[in-house]
């Protein structure tokens, strides 16, 4: 794949930049051009909005059958995280024993390698989540 396909998503994948609707104030991640609530009224009013990176586990799965590029990471924890801003994100949870993960567990975002396209291909980075320890 060309680099551009991935590079254009970098601000969201590296820094959790979503958008906020200038009409109703709703936050979205990933960015959308149009707010589904306000539609035409939101055109040109969707402003970049950086998420704080904190949330809790809404649901999760332990993946045993992995895609080829993630073969070495298995078994890994996949989750839907509900962020404090109310949006939900699908991501991996790392630095966590699969037996410990549970619905409601507090997590925060960190940047890690997601996958790589073979030995000489592109290495992709992006967000994963780690447990918040008190």
């Amino acid at each position: 794949m060309t680099v551009a396909r991935f590079w254009r998503e970098n601000s969201s994948r590296y820094n959790l930049v979503g958008v906020k609707c200038g009409n109703c104030g709703k936050v979205f991640f990933p960015p959308r051009t149009i707010c589904p609530e306000c539609r035409r009224l939101s055109i040109g009013k969707m402003e970049p909005y950086k998420l704080r990176g904190e949330g809790e586990v809404f649901t999760f799965s332990i993946v045993h059958d992995a895609p080829s590029q993630l073969e070495l990471q298995k078994p890994y924890i996949m989750a839907i995280i509900e962020m404090t801003e109310g949006v939900r994100i699908t991501a991996q949870i790392i630095d966590c024993d699969p037996a410990e993960v549970h619905i409601g567990m507090k997590v925060r975002a960190t940047m890690r390698k997601i996958r790589e396209e073979g030995a000489s291909g592109i290495i992709h980075y992006g967000y994963k989540f780690i447990p918040v320890t008190k």
Binding site: T59, F60, S61, V63, S68, A91, Q92, I114, Y127
Partner: protein, 389 residues
């Protein structure tokens, strides 16, 4: 809108069909349907083909023209159109054919669905299936197709106290139904322990919670109801067709335990048919995973939200009960060749409504429903069929 009848059906066995290519499959099912409808071929006005991903599975796009050509219909230069909506490609192709005849634009239409999945390895095949989800914001980060459904299962267990045993019972029941279907990929009954002790795929889902990788095709012939009697004594009427869409990514829905696209599509279909869920005697639902059938029977209005697991455990969805779910064996046992699945559901309903289902026949079957889903519920299409004589 004119009334539309199904006057012909045809299908292949589902499974690992090493000897057959995509075009072999499509032609076999198509010709069987045309033969069943007693057509010479010249009466056919158009062809619709449901296919999810021939480009990825066998490096071939342009499936509409391909199937028209090899079934001998290019001689008449008929319009041939391929429809894609991931796992709902077949159901959507059927809807396009139905609307074409209902509108009066055409009188007789062939709708087929075909997928050749085993020409690539298992890992690649699973990756192609995952393209039905959101590539940029789900799959890229490691969410497999089973993992997305496992997350639904986990949440359903959390919110409604659905048990692992109840979910597993879907597989047991559908394998039992599959054992009565000579076209099914799996024709052996399985025990509850077999499902519970199978290799983990995406916890809490295991191998027997997932529909298999399959090759196969199915086809039907649709006809204006007024002309249908010319070709068959048992026309099956398409009472209603409903379709809906939802967010592509599962995470973007408020409630992941309901496929809103299914409940909305069902609502539209029931309204058109002037029926309620109570009027349905049998339904083919999209059980690509065991948990998907639990969602389906709730979202279609057969059982209240959260009660699907219990109903399954109590045998309320088995052959012989008031409402038989997936008499064909469903995607789980009948097999799930993506683009063919939605048409195979229609073929099963027609077989039942004609009273030709043999050992798995639903007694006095009069009204049946089919529900076909794309992705994790981003597309859903619901059809209701009725025996008219």
């Amino acid at each position: 809108m004119r009334d539309v009848a199904i006057i012909g059906i045809g299908d292949t066995k589902f499974g690992e069909l090493w000897g057959m290519s995509l075009r072999d499959l499509g032609i076999t099912a198509g010709l069987a349907a045309i033969n069943d409808a007693n057509l010479s071929g010249d009466e056919i006005d158009a062809l619709y083909v449901g296919n999810m991903s021939a480009g990825k599975y066998v490096d071939q796009e342009h499936i509409g023209a391909l199937i028209a050509d090899y079934s001998g219909m290019s001689k008449n230069y008929i319009p041939a159109t391929r429809i894609e909506a991931a796992g709902a490609s077949g159901g959507l192709a059927f809807r396009q054919g139905y609307m074409s005849v209902a509108s009066g634009a055409t009188d007789i239409v062939v709708v087929g669905g075909a997928e050749k999945m085993t020409d690539v390895g298992d890992v690649i095949s699973t990756e192609i299936q995952a393209m039905a989800a959101d590539q940029q914001w789900e799959t890229f980060f490691g969410a497999t197709f089973p993992a997305l459904h496992a997350m639904i299962a986990r949440r359903h267990m959390h919110d409604y106290n659905t048990t692992r045993d109840q979910i597993a019972q879907v597989a047991v029941k559908n394998h039992k139904h599959g054992s009565l279907n000579p076209k099914a990929q799996f024709q052996k009954e399985i025990k509850l322990e077999t499902v519970l002790k199978a290799a983990p795929v995406a916890d809490p889902l295991k191998m027997f919670d997932c529909a298999p990788v399959s090759d196969g095709a199915a086809a039907v012939v649709l006809c204006d109801m007024d002309k249908a009697k010319k070709y068959t004594d048992t026309p099956i009427k398409v009472l209603a067709s409903g379709q809906a869409s939802d967010t592509l990514a599962l995470a973007h829905r408020k409630n992941i335990c309901e496929f809103k696209a299914t409940s909305v599509a069902a609502c539209r279909a029931f309204k058109q048919a002037k029926l309620t869920p109570n009027d349905i005697q049998l339904a083919e639902v999209h059980d690509n995973f065991t948990i998907s059938e639990i969602l389906a029977i709730e979202d279609l209005g057969f059982f209240p939200k959260g009660e699907g697991g219990k109903a399954t455990e109590n045998g309320e969805t088995e052959l012989g009960s008031k409402l038989a779910i997936n008499t064909s064996g469903g995607l789980k046992a009948r097999g799930d060749p993506m683009g063919a699945t939605g048409i195979a559901q229609i073929v099963e309903l027609v077989t039942q409504l004609r009273g030709e289902a043999g050992k798995r026949q639903v007694t006095n079957a009069k009204v049946g429903l089919a529900q076909n889903v794309g992705g994790t519920g981003a597309t859903s299409v619901v059809h209701i069929l009725e025996r008219v004589n």
